[in-house]
Symmetry: none
Subunit: 216 residues, 2 copies
DNA sequence: AAACCAGTTAATCTACGGTTAAGCTTTGGA
DNA sequence: TCCAAAGCTTAACCGTAGATTAACTGGTTT
């Protein structure tokens, strides 16, 4: 397993590198964003660990360029504070997972393991419903008519419903758990459900007044 | 409400403790798994918050030992992995809920509330009657012909009758306890019973004049 | 700076489902 | 076997949860 660690704090970087190598990973180190990007594009890595607040090039910029070049390498972002408004913003950038500093090394290992497993396809990767099929790894959704393109929020909502299929999920739970929005206000969920139904068909998601939404 | 917080990160632990105490909980703190387990087994707690990645004893081990000793205290796991595979594992280990770091305090509060409520209530599972089967967790009802869709009020009525099966329940009791309507007026219950009978079959709910309704 | 995209908000519309009402049927005591 | 009271059935009513549509906003792209 070949990892790329992009981290400007030399001390932390070398410490992490050694620890990861102790776990059997091969680790390349880049002390700034530009070099990191060059490396990421010129070599094949299984995973990139990216400090999100690099002085030279921040994580957002890094990710944008990386994805523009067509790279699909999974990325775990290292952030300082969870100042991200909600999950949508974050995952929209193409991050697979994130961890907040300071963290325990075990936590990082667990996340690396989870992401790698996800990408290796060891995890259950697909869910087949009556009329739709969902690729959980690639985050793609297919109907009888072919693939449909969902926005981030639409996808998160659908995924949550599918992973909890069989039971009714309340609007509040969807807002909080699926979208990560804790100041539940407004009818966002209703609008997103409506859009999902338009794309997937009317009968994939059912409503029960007072209980919430259910798939299947 | 007495909580046990098992968390080795001293900073996070004390912060959480204070926040929880601010919410009116009594909180005991254990900074490692062994001490946590001792406490859990020697005192009565309403709920345990367990960091799943303790250095000394991990969550799995903790839970195994806890349950081996016969404790039925509900446990909320604090974890960093967020994949579904583990969700199943967790619940198999006897975890009631879990929350992934980093989390908002409000979310933790919500989950604590949910678990406590669940435990305060009647134990729920599945009830099999002669002709119908009821999944109390998912609020779903099946007859020989397949699933029937009940409205909220219909379901509440049926659930109450089933949980009190064998005895006659008066119209007033149903209205007040099952539906929560304390200004008993009109014949709502009769209409709902009628609709239930139409959906479930005539012989599931029987009437005794002057006494009320009964499910066997 | 104009156009675009995606999530949220706001305003309006719809219909679900609990309630009411009115007439019908069954029960069981005299 | 009568007949009131209790319960059943049906249809209509209507408030509100949810659906729908369009406009808004902040960020990003051209």
């Amino acid at each position: 397993m070949k990892l790329l660690l992009v981290e400007d704090d030399r001390e932390l970087a070398t410490a992490l590198k050694e620890l990861l190598e102790g776990e059997g990973f091969r680790v390349r180190l880049a002390l700034d964003g530009k070099r990191g990007l060059d490396l990421a594009l010129s070599e094949d890595f299984d995973l990139i660990l990216l400090d999100y607040f690099l002085p030279s090039m921040n994580g957002r910029e890094f990710l944008k360029r990386l994805r523009e070049e067509g790279s699909k390498v999974p990325v775990i972002a290292i952030t300082v504070v969870s100042d991200v408004k909600n999950k949508v913003d974050f995952f929209q950038m193409g991050v697979d997972d994130y961890i907040t500093k300071p963290f325990h090394f075990e936590e990082l290992l667990a996340r690396i393991g989870a992401v790698l497993r996800r990408y290796a396809g060891i995890e259950k990767a697909e869910v087949d419903l009556e009329t739709i099929r969902i690729d959980l790894n690639r985050k793609r959704v297919f109907t009888e008519k072919g693939e449909v393109s969902l926005t981030s929020a639409e996808y998160l909502l659908l995924e949550y419903l599918v992973l909890n299929r069989g039971r009714f999920v309340s609007r509040e739970e969807l807002l909080e758990r699926a979208l990560g929005n804790y100041e539940a206000e407004g009818n966002t969920v209703e609008v997103l459900i409506h859009r999902l139904r338009r794309k997937l068909g009317r009968d994939v998601i059912m409503t029960k007044k007072g209980l919430g939404y259910r798939v299947m």
